[in-house]
């Protein structure tokens, strides 16, 4: 068992324009990437659960050539709105870090 935070080379979040928040989960080598992919632990549903959203609100992508997974969600508040707490969207990825991947 390992967490995605331990296995990934980079997990990041960022604005994709002022209205959408996007997450990139990137791996350094194909073996680890395939292990995560085969486990099915990282999915549209898993991301939706972490951010308490309906799965239909999550776009989810598997990017083989970049050894990466990607998810995008609507921002809870538009960038810069008076209730927005993260103008660049850069610190919203922490809930993804402890998703567990079986095996070793």
């Amino acid at each position: 068992m390992a967490t995605i935070g331990e296995l990934a080379r980079l997990i990041r979040s960022k604005n994709a324009g002022p209205f959408v928040l996007t997450f990139d989960i990137m791996f350094a080598d194909r073996e680890v990437y395939e292990r995560v992919k085969q486990s099915g632990a990282l999915s549209r549903e898993a991301v939706a659960a972490r951010y308490n959203l309906p799965a239909a609100d999550v776009q989810f992508f598997v990017c083989d050539n970049a050894l990466a997974f990607k998810a995008s969600i609507p921002r809870p508040f538009f960038q810069g709105d008076i209730l927005d707490s993260d103008g660049h969207g850069g610190q919203q990825y922490a809930p993804l870090m402890d998703i567990e991947i079986p095996g070793q």
Binding site: V20, T22, P76
Partner: protein
Amino acid sequence: MKEVRVLAASGVCGSGFREESLEEAMGRRPHFIGCDGGSTDPGPYPLGAGTTSFPAVSIKRDMRLMLLAARKAGIPLLIGSAGTAGGTPHVAAVRRIVEEIAREEGLSFPMAVIHAEQDKDYLKKRLREGRIKPLKPAPDFDEGVIDRAERIVGMMGEDPYLRALDKGAEVILAGRSSDCAIYAGIPVREGIPAGIAWHAAKILECGTASVEQRKSPDCLMATCRPDHFDVEPLDPSLRCTPQSIASHSLYENSDPYLHVESNGTIDLTASQYKALDTRRVRVTGSNFRPAETYTVKLEGSEKVGYQSVIVGGIRDPFIIRQIDDWVERLHARVHARVAEIYGGKLGRDKYFFNVRVYGKNGVMGALEPVKEITTHELCLLLEVTAPTQEIASAIASVTRHQALHLPIPEWSGLITGVACPYNPAYLERGAVYRFCVNHVVEPDDPYEMFPTEYVNVH
């Protein structure tokens, strides 16, 4: 074999690049130099307030080097999204910088200034015609939003650039633009397939953001040929790898494979990435699907009000363990006190009071999955947004007093429950703005929203 060599001086004009990298790039005889000057990344403030995100001195430093290099080589220089937001005041600020440099360096050249700030009557007309359509997710948009907006800009495609070049411009200073359009227009016109040219543009527009380990913003070059493009950084210590280039299509995009532009969609589903050596990558297989309807994306910013903010800390474990209840009681007290002071003259809908609790959910707000906190101290931001700065600060002063002495059941007697690091306790933030548009216009042609001035700079 036909090739078009494209140089991106940096990801953003004003963020910098190495002078040695530019010199190295010029030795490879690029056909033109491009650089975008903006983004929505700095938020709604620059667009609303008419200010630039990078300071004028840093824009001038980059602009001087690019202008000198382009003039010496006799190649076009294309600057898009001038001055961060690409509205009228932003373009004017960068135009002054260009003119100053020309004077200082004794340069003269024909320049096109392409405007992107939108006429409100034009937008209302297109709205009435049903030719303004929402993207997803979009705020409500009506004539009231157009009236209230401080500024709305359109994001131009490559056509206004190409027309300016045809009319003899050697330097183009453009308002808000698609970043990719700066780089894709010329190669496509020279016969490079659109998929190759637009994908190369997509990589170029962020400068060295696509290298394996970016040290600082720098120049990036792409050589476009009929069936591929090659991309390489100019700084010899930087490397592009197939994975770094493939990964770059993820950055700041909601979809890693499809990128919508005015005249179509860049489709990277079939793109292949191959290392040419340890620092250059060859890309093949990228496609471009033309759009049925030409669209221009709008960006707009509306003033919300003026803000004053108190920064405060809490160390008392009794207050920390009841912080949600404490915040709720503070809200009630502030609203009651404002009603007393202003009578009926400042209704609850005329000002906004908000409390952020760092140490609990200040960073993630409603998205925060951790509900129980064990911290020994909290940081609070107490924010007041009101129609004038004076009112915002008046309410902030009232808030300070109410927060300091808000009683809790555990203690009897007068407490002082918030530590204020600043005196006065509040900071005046000035005007605050919000993005008010996420829509596209369907114009008659790619030019009607982007009037162009032709000037001789000397």
